[in-house]
Each structure stands twice: as C-alpha cells, then as structure tokens.
Subunit: 501 residues, 2 copies
Amino acid sequence: MLVFAYFTLSSSNQYLELVLVISMDFVLKGVFVLSLLMVSMKSQVDARYRHWSNDQKKSIFEAGEDLVTNLPGQPSVDFRHYAGYVTVNEKNGRALFYWFYEATTFADKKPLVLWLNGGPGCSSVGYGATQEIGPFLVDTDGRGLIFNSFSWNTEANLLFLESPVGVGFSYSNTSADYDILGDDFTANDAYAFLHNWYLKFPSYRNRIFYIAGESYAGKYVPELAEVIHDKNKDPSLFIDLRGILLGNPETNDAEDLKGIADYAWSHAVVSDETHKTILESCDFYSDDPWSNNDCNSAMVELYSQYDEIDIYSLYTSVCIGNNSSGSQDKSTLLTAKSSTKMLPRVMGGYDPCLDDYAKSYYNRPDVQKALHVGDGISLRNWSICNMTVYYGWSDRKASVVPIYKKLIAAGLKIWVYSGDTDGRVPVLSTRYSLSSLGLPIKRAWRPWYHQKQVGGWLQEYYGLTFATFRGAGHAVPIFKPSESLAFFASFLSGESLPSQR
Amino acid sequence: MLVFAYFTLSSSNQYLELVLVISMDFVLKGVFVLSLLMVSMKSQVDARYRHWSNDQKKSIFEAGEDLVTNLPGQPSVDFRHYAGYVTVNEKNGRALFYWFYEATTFADKKPLVLWLNGGPGCSSVGYGATQEIGPFLVDTDGRGLIFNSFSWNTEANLLFLESPVGVGFSYSNTSADYDILGDDFTANDAYAFLHNWYLKFPSYRNRIFYIAGESYAGKYVPELAEVIHDKNKDPSLFIDLRGILLGNPETNDAEDLKGIADYAWSHAVVSDETHKTILESCDFYSDDPWSNNDCNSAMVELYSQYDEIDIYSLYTSVCIGNNSSGSQDKSTLLTAKSSTKMLPRVMGGYDPCLDDYAKSYYNRPDVQKALHVGDGISLRNWSICNMTVYYGWSDRKASVVPIYKKLIAAGLKIWVYSGDTDGRVPVLSTRYSLSSLGLPIKRAWRPWYHQKQVGGWLQEYYGLTFATFRGAGHAVPIFKPSESLAFFASFLSGESLPSQR
C-alpha cells in the first residue's frame, strides 16, 4: 500500500494544506490498532495509580505544574483551575489541551463533568468555557475576562477538552493523524485522555463522572460513553460514569435533516412551496438524498434562507461589524456541501462577534503562557473552529440511537435538552430522534419553571428525560444562563425540574 | 314575536347583566332594516357635504369641538388630534368613540387610515393607539403618556375606532343592541360611523382611504371593506378605499385552528402525542369538531399548555404582579369555550401589565374630559376588552376568504403580515388561509430587510402581498416598532420592501 503525503503547517494561520494520496482502509485500520494498543498501555499505567484514588487530599498537588496562577484579566476567585496538555499518543506526538475548574465549593465531594463541543472541529474552551458555562467568559473587547455567576462549576468540577487533535490548542506531531479524524478516533483519544488526566488528578480517579456536550458532541458524548461502558468490564479501567447530558445534539442524520426542514417551514423561514418539494422529493433515510435534484435544490434554497439570519438563534440580530465575513463564512459553510451526501454540520456556537473576541484573547502570548500552551514567545494560532478538521471528517456515525439504547439498558442517566429557537439542530429533530427510541412515557409533557416563568417543557420517559428551553438558541446557556444552571443541578441531583411556579 | 329584556348597566364595572328572552331572527332582521335605513338617511346627509370635499383648508375647523387640547400627561406635538363620539343610530342612541390623529406632516396630502382592533370586544384606543402605532403610548406607571417616535401618523392620518358599541367608550342607549352584536352589525355601524365622521371632517371625504387592523379585525377589516365596495356603486356614497392591511388576522376558522395546532406542536408547546391525537381526531372543516371527544380533550390540553406563557408572544415573560389574575383570566378565556363549537377568540393585545396601565389612565376623570367622553364628573368605566361583548358574539363569518377574492377582483391592495412568534393567530394559520386563495406567485419567498437585519420574509402574489415579522408576537408594532413603521410606509407607497441589506 502506497502512502504519500506532503503537508505544510503554517504557524500563522494553522491552516493545513494537505496533498495526500493514501489508502484509507489502511489508515483506518492502523488507527484502530494504535488506539487499542494505546488504551491497553495506559490501562497498565492507570493501574499503578489506583491505590491513590481515595486519597482526595493529595489530589490538588499532583497537577501543580498545570495550575493557572496568572491568567490575564482573570477575576479573583476562591477555586483553583488548571490548564495544559495531556499526551494521548506518545509515538505520534498527540496531545490534547484541557482546562479544568474545580467546583467553587466542596470540590472534593462533587462529581466530575467533562464538557465537549462539536463542530466537528470546534473548541470546548472557545465555546463551552468562554461563552457558555465556564466561570470566566471573555468580555466583548477581547482584553479580559468577566466572571460568570452562573458557571456550572458551582455544581461540579468542570473539565473542558479540546478534541480531537487539530481543535483549539490540541495537536499532533504526525500530520497523517489529521487526515483520519472521525468519530471513533475522537472517542478513543478522549478515552485515552481521561485515563492520562487521572494520572495528573488521581483524587478524581474514582469520582462520580458525567459527560456533557452540545451540537455535534451529540455524537461524541454517547460515543465516548460507549467506549467507557465497554472498557469498564475491565475493573482496572473502571470509570464511574453515571450519565450523559446532551444539548441540541445531533443524533440521527435522517431525523435531524427532516427536523431542519420541518422546523424551517413552521418557523416561516422557507415557503410552503419549498417545504412541499422537500416533503415530496427528499428521502432522508436513503444513502444519498441529494441524488434527487428536486430535493437537492430545495435544501439549497432552505439553507440560503438562513444565509443572513442566525440559524443558531432565529430571533436575535446577527453581528454586522466592519468586516461582515462572519456571515459570509457561515453561508459558505451551510451550502458548501449540500450537493454531497454529507450535509454540512457546522459549529456549536453562533455569534461571530463573540467568536472574534475569543480568538483575540486566546492568541495573546501572555494568555497562552498562563494556560501552559507555550512559552509566551512562539505562539500557537488558536481558532474557535478548525475548518480543515470540519471538512476532512472521515468517519461519522449516521445515528447514535443504537448507543442510546445500549446506555439506557446499562442504567445510565440520560438527559437531553433543546433550545427551541435553534434552526441548526432544531427541537423537532431531537423529538424525531427520541421518538424513534420508542421509550414508554413515565410522566407526560408539562411545563417546567424557573423564577416563576415557564423555562420550557419536559417529558420524562423510562430511561431518558427530555426538556426544552423556551426561547433559547443552539448554545442554550448563552441565552438562559440561570435556567441552564438550575437545569444542570437537577440533572446532577436526579430531581425533576420544578413543575410549579 | 315576544321581546322581553331586563338589564342593568353598572357604571362601576361596565358589566352587563342581561336576562333576555328574544326572538333572534326578528332582531337580526330588524337590525338589518335599521342599518339600511340609517345608511340611506346618512347618504342624503353626506350628499349635502360633497361640494365641500375638495376644500381641505376648511377641514380643521369642522370638528373643532372634538379637538383635544389638554390631555393629561401628553407630550407637546406639532399635529392636531381629535376625539369624541359619532352617532351611528339616533333612534337607539348608538354612538361610537373615535380618536383621530392628523399626520405629523403634510396632513392634507396624506391618506386616511382607519385602524381596528379585534377581540371581539377590544378597544382600538387601548391597543392600537395606546400600545402599538399611535403617537402617545401610556407609560408604565399609568400616570401619563410617552411619545412614540414610530407612530404611524408620520405616514398617514390615523383614525382609531372603538367598535362595535360596548367596546371601550362606545355605547348604545338601547340595551337590546348589546345582544345582537356580531360581524355584520359591526361592519354596518362602522360604515355608518365613517359617513358621519366625514360630516365632521369633510376635507377627508374624498381622501384616499385604507383600513388596517389585527387579530379578530382580520374579520372586521375585509367585512367593512366589502360594505364600502358594495355601497360605492352609489356615487353619492363613494369612499375612495384603496386597500386593506391585516396583521395576524383571523381569516378562516378551520385553517386558523389547524394552524394553532401545528404551530403549538412545531414550537414545542405541546407533545408529539397530543399533536398526533389532534391530527387524527379533529376535523376542523366540520360544523362541530368538538363533538369528537378525542379532538376536544387534545385541544383543551393544547390550550392548557398556553395557560402560563404568553400565547401572543411565545418567548417573552408574562407579567407576574402582586395580583396574578391577568394570567388566570387569560387561561379562563382560552379554555372556557373549547367544548363548544366556537373556539374562543381572545383579544388583540398581550401584556396584562400594559393593559392595567391603560385601564388606569382611561378611567381618570381628567383624561375622559379631555377626550370628550364626559364632563369629568360622571365617569364611564373603560376596559380594554369587554368580555360580555366577547362571549355574546352572535354572528360570525367562519371565513372571509370569499371576501378576499371579491376585493382582489376589485383591484384593492391587500397586504397581510404576521408576527411569527404569535401562537394565537400563528403564521401557519395565515399561510394556510392564504394558500386556500390559490393566487399565482408574482415574486417568490425572500427575506426583507430593515436596518441591515432580516425583518422577516415576503411573498408577493398577484393580488396580495404577504410578509412575516421575524421574532414579533401577535401585536407586531409593540415588538418591532421601527420595522412596522417602515412596512406601513411600503404598504402605502406600494413599493416592495427592501430585498437587500
């Protein structure tokens, strides 16, 4: 098998130019074998540390070198936070960047929650930590941070991972790695990351653990949960995973697409005529719905209607700055692949203005030094979404519904939420996907409340809880910070959301 | 035929207690004959004034006694406004209250626009003038008025009518009138009002004329337009009606109901299960869809989900004051009639807090005196919606689609708009109704712009223009004042809305 690769990695824009002739099956198999080897090797390492796992007092010292002490613009806080790299594959030089915030109180008693953003290709630091649920949000002038009093680390120890390599600060020294990114690769590297991260933070080794995420992490989260569930058969690898939490998650391509179409029509984004064409010509369950020209052009028409509004939040204004490229980029993203089998799956965030602030902040030398990304002289170019990763995604599960079934059978707690003004992974898509699970209803549809207002609606199934957030876009916590935090607390405690004012 | 009526009219709460045994066909026929007589009489009176109609300079003096000069809390303005009564039936003592604002500039050149709110039973003064498109909005402490720089009287002379009798300050001295209120009665009285109003304002007699309104005025506006169109065959009665403008209008009961159901489901207000039951059991085109118990209880379930959010604006908070009766009233309104043939058609406004401010203001003695409602000592009890009128509505057209067809054939300009976050007369209802017209498309669905943002979407048919307002609730101008004014100007000029940023 011939493998020939030429690449340049520009440090100024992190753009990968790849001219690559490669035998894909070889690479995929290779990655699989490497992953297994890696996980196997790590499991031996982990075993050495298992006797430390109950000694929580020691934990804070293990990762001392990753402690963040002088982050520019950071508000003063009572909790510690850590950032840095965890190597997931020594041979190829793959290292994932994390940012970990201890809980604000009783950190040693609270669970550990891993947060993942999607894309594929987008940064959990840039979205989750910086714009949504982390304690420090970038302020709108890009010069510092503001404190988020609705940070989810009031309820849990909060771990943000930039995943897979190519995303944010995460990298590989082996260029071929970038060409084989996909769902399995991501799950296996995230699994390796977890075990190696526990080496730095052994007091969390046996801590109650949850995985949360949104958007394309709707795939990542169950996929990683499945790997953990499967590996847990080996007691030396056991991770105390109790559940998963998914926000506006991509779940099942066919139903996600049908939901996009029906939602756009019912929300007056497309015409009756376009919707009718989609209903008549699109077979989203086929291998290639785009082979039907009517379907293809109707979907192109649908995406074009989203060109100049924010598909991630239908009723907010779009950022129109001096440089309106944000909007243009989004349009390109949405339509570029609509004539191929795979519809575009764009990033988890929504506001090109906020994205710009994050980019400005994380590309500061002093910030990178404080986060242990580098020495503060030779910079890594950080972007909120890596489009090379996005476009090059080579392995994608069409549906994670079978994984849901497996995890439900295993007794994991699964909560799914949906901001109902998102057109990208609309509430209809999620309902179509959940409906396909055929779960019996435990407690029927009802409103849930927060601060005397209806936060959204809730339906509890045996095995799964589904909740909507009224008036929230794709990245729910941006729109509903207080409601989201209350919801997160309910998820952790397992208590139902309030059903009265 | 036996007619027996007993009534009390309480001045403290304007609540009509009617114990009425009456032969309905007699009354309806009587009203019809009276209406014809009245119109006929007025036409003779009108004819006397026709030679004045081109003398615009005289106009401002004709209604001098209705000039409003000392309205409490009114901001200083450069235009005149008039308020008072116009008798529509002398024998029965029926008089309708109006409030008329000259255009801010070039009043003698600009068209005359009549604005109607719906209910039935709700006040155009309380909603249209006070909360939406008038120059003076009540402020939130109920003590005065604030200036609305997006008032539609920057583009037209603006006439608000409280219609029919029983609404706002409008009254009849004949109690039996209150028992025969309905669509035709309303249209005929409004027609009589117009001719008699022209006697006060003769310079407007031949002015270009439009009728606008929202919600249940979706019935009133075409119905009045039809009366005018029909009567215009008599040159002495001619009114220069050029078009109608309808916002979130009730149009066709069957399609309005189907739209409510589909909208509630697609906007995550009701469950998949409830929607499925509605789809399977409700025949909205039958005479009595509620005879099917499954349909009935599914629709009750649907309305109950709207109990504690604002059906008129899905994503805003509801007013929760010390007295939460507003919400309770709304709930009662929504569900009270769901087991009868006629589903409730509630009022055009949406914020019980704003409603309270209006009620406080218009029940002040000095305000009533300034508006020529009374002498400032014996008060009329003003309420924003008269629920006796609402519940007693006796004559209702199930559909005004045939009137649309007639008016389109007559060459009238018809523009329909829809705030797309309204669950009461949702954008889907309006699209279903318009679709039933089967009009050819002149210019296909596209976004329209205001201040560089997408204001909504637009479809131009031959004979009708339809536009949505993105993120606006039921009473669109409250949510989108600047966009609404630009839209109104486009309607008047007949120019398309901007199709570029």
